[in-house]
């Protein structure tokens, strides 16, 4: 049921960290393989679902029922992975990778597991080169310009910019990395540690914001969350806050503290390009960066 390429890659890599070993007292090879194949299938399902959520026609409003069902499926998988401890493993791998700003071989394995997207899968699924510049259908995006505040200044999104760190929302899904070119992909795996890339433009984030809009955001224009900083609020007064939606919906079970966009900008200004600190806050930081990028590209 799942792509052949995925299987091949899996057998190449080392131990499967997501084998759900905690449940298996004396793992026989068969049991381990069965569990691995289950988590493999689950992973591929997750990838597929996320792609489906992203690939919506922007000409016509996407089918809300379909989007909701896919989002529920994604959430269900995430819940299960959280229970399994798989989620934990991946976020730790991420955070470790990010903190070190380099990748050791061990981490490579972890990211290898995460980086499921292969040429085979790419061939199977028709992924349009996702217009990173949110041009069609979102003409208002380019107008949002972030000035000052920690030197984060960008007014356009370059589609060529590499996705240098794993999207924070799920802690995985390099599927979108293929937009940067297939050659980069294998290398990207090791670079996901995010070497100085926090401020880099990200296709992934643009997609996130577009997805959010596609899935839920286009339907409503919400009032932005109350801001602790009135100055910032002024700055973002006309930003459409609906793009948060997908991120929060799909992360669902994340226990990371939910921070408003204005908080994120403040924290970013103090962080600068330095690597993120601890593993526990790593996920929330990645979320923050997600949010920031969404603000910057203006959804």
């Amino acid at each position: 049921m799942f792509p052949k390429g995925t299987k091949r890659k899996f057998s190449d890599s080392g131990d499967e960290p997501a084998a759900g070993g905690e449940d298996v007292n004396q793992p026989s090879s068969v049991a381990v393989r069965m569990l691995s194949s289950y988590s493999l299938q689950r992973q591929s399902l997750l990838d597929m679902s996320l792609i489906k959520l992203q690939l919506c026609h922007m000409l016509v409003e996407p089918n809300l029922c379909r989007s909701v069902l896919i989002a529920n499926t994604v959430r269900q998988i995430q819940e299960e992975m959280t229970q399994d401890g798989t989620w934990q493993i991946m976020t730790q791998a991420l955070s470790a990778a990010n903190a070190a700003a380099q990748c050791s071989a061990d981490r490579l394995v972890a990211t290898e597991v995460l980086c499921r997207q292969t040429e085979a899968t790419q061939g199977e699924q028709v992924l349009k080169p996702f217009p990173a510049v949110g041009s069609e259908g979102c003409p208002a995006e380019e107008e949002v310009v972030v000035e000052g505040e920690g030197g984060v200044t960008m007014s356009t999104v370059s589609p060529q910019a590499p996705t240098s760190y794993l999207p924070g929302t799920f802690g995985m899904d390099p599927c979108w990395e293929e937009e940067n070119g297939e050659d980069e992909e294998e290398d990207e795996d090791s670079e996901e540690c995010g070497s100085g890339s926090e401020e880099g433009d990200s296709d992934r984030l643009v997609e996130d914001s577009r997805t959010a809009e596609q899935v839920f955001g286009t339907f409503e224009i919400k009032n932005p969350a109350p801001s602790p900083d009135p100055a910032l609020e002024e700055l973002f007064s006309d930003v459409d806050a609906s793009y948060y939606d997908l991120d929060t919906v799909l992360t669902g079970m994340q226990s990371a503290p939910k921070m408003g966009p204005y908080d994120l900008l403040e924290s970013l200004s103090s962080h600068g390009p330095s690597p993120l600190s601890s593993s526990t806050s790593c996920r929330s930081d990645l979320n923050e960066l997600d949010h920031i990028m969404e603000i910057i590209v203006g959804s």
């Binding site: 597929m48 016509v60 379909r66």
Partner: protein
């Protein structure tokens, strides 16, 4: 795949090798009287068919024309197996195109920079009250009321206008005449009478006319509105399941229908597989259901696709108003209105797909919305499947039969043969393997005549009409009797 002209659509649709996207039928509904059938397609057109009730003194040439318009196997088999070929009877009952009109045009939402498709999502006829017929048709956002009427007389002999309608030169008028009505060729006029717009933020998926004959409901993904047929600038919101925080959205409305007799009751189904019966007398906003019909999930069969597969795609009240028929991806269920804890009958439509759900999820087929219908006596239910197959279940015996709506294998006036899917065991000739099913040929839309055993099946851009060969009456056919 270009736009086709109206003139060519009717005559040549069967000659084309490809399916024009715009021709795909998206809804079917039939009236109670006058035997009218309406179909809507993706291009925003509505085609109305009328059943010939005149006994056939039609010359053979015109019959031939009719069968070239639509594949018209007029013979229906009840779930009893193969039937003998029946000779030409030339009997009446064929459907002809009565009228065609453009109901909706593509539109653009400037606020969101999104197109609004002209595809007709639903058509519903109103109960007939006078010589004209009224139908409601809706696309994603706007509902329209159309009046379909016949005109066979025309006034002639105006004093100030000539025959073409041009104003006459007064000096040429020497005497006065009284205009008279003269019979002309039958003309079918279709006029829009009401446009109900700006009532919905989300996509309208259902409309249902109330038994009071004055109101109707329209349901989108998150809200249900009630309208009065005469008032277009106002509607009442009777159900709103939109969460305050859209991030918390996990359930949408998939279908809604008024009770056939009680004008205060309606039901709506959700993407989580639940049905809610609401009583409008209880409160103005029926967010709290009167009854909740939900089948507890079987923990043993839980998978990642459980929720998607349980999403109800269609809900229909039985004609007697005592039962509900629902369709989810793999089954059709009959519910008793008095029993909320589970369906009273469950029919497996295509259980062999249960192991293929991952592939069907990948190619999006798992999101297909199949409709379901009752027969006139509520003893048989029918729903569609893939590979141009549709299924009929006899509620008394619990048995189901698979039939095919495919032009290549059914000639006009041929008998429908039952089909089988091969799922193991002894394979018979004609059995179709699961892997050879064509998932692009899906039977989503269908209608059953409210009084007779005549069904209309929409398959891509073709409409198939089948009728019971023995007798069109409500009682079950007496198979084995020879001639009609």
């Amino acid at each position: 795949m270009g736009e086709d002209t109206e003139s060519s659509k009717g005559n040549h649709s069967f000659l084309r090798d490809y399916v024009t996207e715009a021709d795909v039928i998206s809804t079917v509904d039939s009236t109670t009287q006058e035997n009218l059938l309406a179909t809507g397609d993706k291009g925003g057109r509505v085609v109305v068919f009328q059943r010939e009730t005149v006994s056939s003194l039609l010359p053979p040439t015109s019959s031939h024309l009719l069968s070239s318009l639509l594949p018209l196997p007029p013979l229906l088999s009840q779930p009893k197996g193969e039937l003998d070929q029946v000779g030409e009877t030339g009997e009446s009952g064929e459907y002809n195109v009565y009228s065609t009109f453009q109901s909706h045009e593509p539109d653009f939402d400037y606020l969101k920079s999104l197109e609004i498709e002209e595809k007709i999502n639903k058509i519903r006829w109103l109960p007939q009250q006078n010589a004209a017929h009224f139908l409601l048709s809706t696309n994603d956002k706007t509902i329209k009321l159309w009046k379909v009427s016949e005109r066979d007389k025309q006034p002639e002999g105006y004093n100030l206008k000539d025959e073409e309608g041009r104003v006459k030169d007064i000096s040429t008028v020497t005497s006065l005449q009284v205009p008279v009505l003269r019979p002309t060729d039958l003309m079918v006029e279709v006029r829009p009478r009401r446009v109900f717009s700006n009532g919905h933020t989300y996509h309208v998926n259902s409309i249902s006319v109330n038994s009071d004959g004055e109101t109707y409901l329209s349901a989108d993904d998150l809200r249900i509105n009630m309208w009065h047929l005469g008032i277009t600038d106002r509607s009442f919101n009777i159900v709103d399941i939109k969460p305050a925080n859209m991030e918390e959205l996990t359930e949408v409305i998939t279908a809604a229908e008024f009770h056939p007799h009680h004008c205060h009751l309606f039901v709506y189904s959700s993407s989580k597989g639940s049905l809610r019966l609401c009583d409008m007398r209880a409160s103005a906003l029926c967010d709290r259901h009167t009854k909740l019909f939900e089948e507890p999930e079987d923990p043993g069969s839980r998978s990642f696709f459980s929720e998607i597969v349980s999403s109800v795609s269609d809900v229909k009240f039985s004609h007697n108003g005592r039962y509900l028929l629902t369709r989810d991806y793999l089954t059709a269920k009959v519910w008793d209105l008095h029993m909320e804890k589970g369906p009273v009958e469950t029919y497996q439509v295509h259980d062999y797909l249960r192991t293929k759900l991952c592939s069907l999820y990948e190619n999006d087929c798992i999101f297909d919305k199949f409709e379901c219908v009752w027969n006139s006596s509520d003893s048989v239910i029918m729903t569609g499947a893939y590979n141009s197959f549709f299924r009929m279940f006899d509620r008394e015996t619990g048995r189901g039969v698979t039939l095919e709506a495919w032009r290549e294998t059914s000639k006009p006036r041929a008998v429908l043969r039952t089909r089988r899917i091969y799922t193991g065991g002894k394979r018979r000739r004609g059995d179709v393997g699961v892997d050879s099913l064509d998932f692009t040929k899906k039977i989503l839309h269908m209608a059953w005549h409210p009084e007779e055993n005549i069904i209309a099946i929409a398959s891509t851009n073709n409409l198939y009409i089948f009728q019971d060969r023995v007798s069109p009456d409500t009682q079950g056919p007496d198979l084995g009797s020879d001639t009609i």
